[in-house]
């Protein structure tokens, strides 16, 4: 009855025939993007809850007799509500899972060469999504206004200030003055709950739109069956009901995992950090910033240079130049590894020694720079660690390349094979 009423007005049947019958190739690694999307949905829902209770101000208010910033007090009060701390932890855990899912998704796309023509645009949109998500995480760090928040944000402030030429203007734009300014928390709150989520929504929409246009890449095993049917028809399961069933199950499974983690694994205990005070505890950023954090430790203090009036301080080299270079490499990948005809099947990474070994080297490099964040507990001097980073990266590249070459020669496969 009801569905008929809607169908008469919205022509749902037509919509179903056009979109819900689309084929969705099956491969478990195709679900990382969905995990990121579902984490985003969880973040929005928990974020709405937190938004009702959070107070974006650093005016001093009384909390159990002590005068603390209002933002800090409001988050302590959220933690004291029934389920309040769990909701806040679900929010934080989901953010970590979202970034992990994006990074894994990116790795999957890279190693299966799914970034090649015609999918370069979606590769770039995906990178933008990663960047904006990291921005969401960074702006979220500050909001509880604990000792941890303020120290972490202060480091971000000085990194943005160290950007050559425009650092002063840029840092005051992002932080609404010289951090810690009274305007920083309201500005980050606005960025975190308004601008960044809107940007994410827009980019996600665009990402999916381009995906619908291109369709998924397919497992190479589908190739013969597709050719037998005489050309490009996607083999997979329909969006409705099969894929929808998988996706909804995945969403609720993910939610249950996140709720369990939030319940049992403490995260960002702001009550333990306390409100901002003049002392910096031993602290590390969340895992996704560890490569930059570690790299900053390796740059010697006397390493700096100037170009056309722009000063590249050690902070600028570690915090701006290094991540910028990483981003540039990622952007350039589909334009360096070019093909003339559109490719719609995923490649076996074992058959592509050059790209796969470079990817492994990149992973080793990020792992080693992450490890550099721990030189204080590992008791390694920065200069030796810098050498280890280079050696391990080069070894990872060389060894994986050699092994893959041998593997391909044995099977007479490899980069030279026309696909």
């Amino acid at each position: 009855m009801i569905s008929k009423w809607f169908d008469e007005r919205l022509e749902l049947k037509k919509f179903k025939e056009k979109f819900l019958t689309k084929a969705f190739p099956t491969h478990p690694t195709f679900l990382f993007g969905e995990i990121a999307l579902f984490s985003f949905i969880t973040l929005v829902i928990t974020g709405i809850f937190l938004g009702f209770l959070y107070e974006p101000s650093i005016d001093k208010v009384s909390l159990f007799g002590a005068m603390v910033p209002a933002a800090y007090a409001s988050v302590v009060r959220i933690d004291l509500l029934p389920l309040g701390m769990i909701i806040r932890r679900i929010h934080h855990w989901s953010a970590m899972i979202m970034i992990a899912a994006i990074v894994t998704h990116l790795g999957r796309i890279y190693f299966t060469s799914a970034y090649r023509k015609p999918r370069e645009i979606n590769w770039l949109i995906g990178l933008a999504l990663l960047a904006v998500t990291l921005g969401a995480a960074l702006t979220g760090y500050l909001l509880p206004y604990s000792q941890f928040s303020v120290t972490a944000t202060s480091i971000a402030y000085y990194i943005s200030k160290s950007v050559p030429w425009i650092g002063g203007w840029l840092s005051r734009l992002l932080f609404a003055g010289e951090f810690p300014a009274a305007g920083t928390v309201p500005r980050f709150f606005f960025l975190h709950v308004m601008l960044v989520p809107l940007a994410l929504l827009g980019l996600i929409g665009l990402h999916l739109l381009v995906l619908v246009k291109h369709k998924h890449t397919e497992p190479a095993a589908n190739r013969k069956r597709t050719d037998a049917r005489g050309g490009r028809r996607l083999i997979g399961i329909p969006v409705w009901p099969e894929q929808s069933f998988i996706s909804v199950s995945l969403f609720f499974f993910l939610l249950s995992v996140v709720v369990l983690m939030a319940t049992y694994i403490p995260l960002n205990p702001i009550e333990a950090y306390g409100p901002p005070s003049p002392a910096t505890p031993v602290m590390r950023p969340d895992w996704y910033f560890l490569p930059i954090y570690g790299f900053l430790k390796l740059i010697p203090g006397n390493l700096s240079f100037s170009i056309a009036g722009g000063k590249f301080t050690p902070e600028a080299i570690g915090g701006v130049l290094f991540p910028g270079l990483l981003a540039l490499i990622l952007v350039a990948i589909p334009f360096l590894d070019r093909v003339s005809t559109p490719r719609n099947y995923i490649e076996n990474p074992l058959h592509r020694p050059v790209m796969t070994s470079l990817g492994i080297a990149g992973g080793a490099f990020l792992f080693m720079t992450t490890l550099s964040g721990y030189i204080d507990v590992l008791h390694i001097a920065p200069s030796s660690m810098a050498i280890y980073v280079l050696v391990v990266t080069a070894a990872a590249w060389g060894i994986s390349y050699l092994l893959l070459r041998l593997y391909c020669r044995a099977g007479k496969k490899g980069d030279h094979v026309k696909t």
């Binding site: 650092g167 010289e178 002392a279 900053l296 920065p382």
Partner: protein
């Protein structure tokens, strides 16, 4: 107005050209005018920029944190190898004023430490790391107090307090600035100079 649909004659603008030009000018104008917002949204830099210390000669040192926060430091409370974070009394709102007061053996001081700014083994340096602005910590060596040093926990910059807080490890670009202290007659500690160099991150 019939001829506007055809190709324009020399010196005449077609409807299409006009529309395109108008659109271009409108877009350029709209975005151009918005550029001024980039200036408005970024507040002007404060004078001097960043950390500006307001310590004056004769300011008394008080505890910056802990249970005795705000009360006066007494020289008798410090053994060799002890250190504490301190503010000038009444000026605790300005982070640039935060110093680390250290007591060492007087004969351990070596250049470039400025001996005239020390007194009875007391030496004070800015507590704001010159790398990215975290507060430095005191790494006390219980067995050998003379081997204690100052470390910033953010990126492990290490400073040698016996040698003018020069950088002996990590990414900090310059030493922590020294500031003069002396023990007054009643045993309290008092500032005797301003900072000897720049305070805070060097960006």
């Amino acid at each position: 107005m019939v001829e506007t649909n055809s190709e324009g004659k020399e010196g005449k603008v077609t409807r299409r050209q006009f529309a395109r030009g108008f659109l271009l000018a409108a877009v350029a104008g709209a975005f151009g005018s918005l550029l001024s917002l980039l200036k408005v949204l970024s507040p002007p830099a404060s004078k001097g920029g960043g950390y500006v210390a307001t310590v004056a000669l004769g300011d008394l040192l008080v505890y910056a944190k802990g249970s005795r926060q705000g009360s006066l430091l007494k020289a008798s409370d410090f053994q060799v190898g002890d250190a504490v974070l301190a503010y000038p009394q009444g000026k605790t709102g300005n982070e640039a004023n935060l110093v680390q007061l250290i007591r060492m053996k007087e004969k351990e001081f070596k250049p470039p430490t400025r001996l005239e700014l020390t007194d009875q083994g007391f030496v004070a340096y800015s507590a704001i790391c010159t790398h990215l602005g975290c507060t430095v910590s005191w790494m006390k060596n219980e067995k050998d107090p003379g081997a204690s040093y100052t470390e910033c926990f953010c990126h492990n910059s290490i400073f040698n307090p016996a040698r003018g807080a020069r950088v002996i490890g990590g990414p900090a670009p310059i030493p922590l600035a020294q500031i003069g202290v002396k023990v007054s007659k009643d045993g309290t500690l008092v500032f005797t100079s301003g900072f000897s160099g720049p305070v805070g991150p060097q960006v």
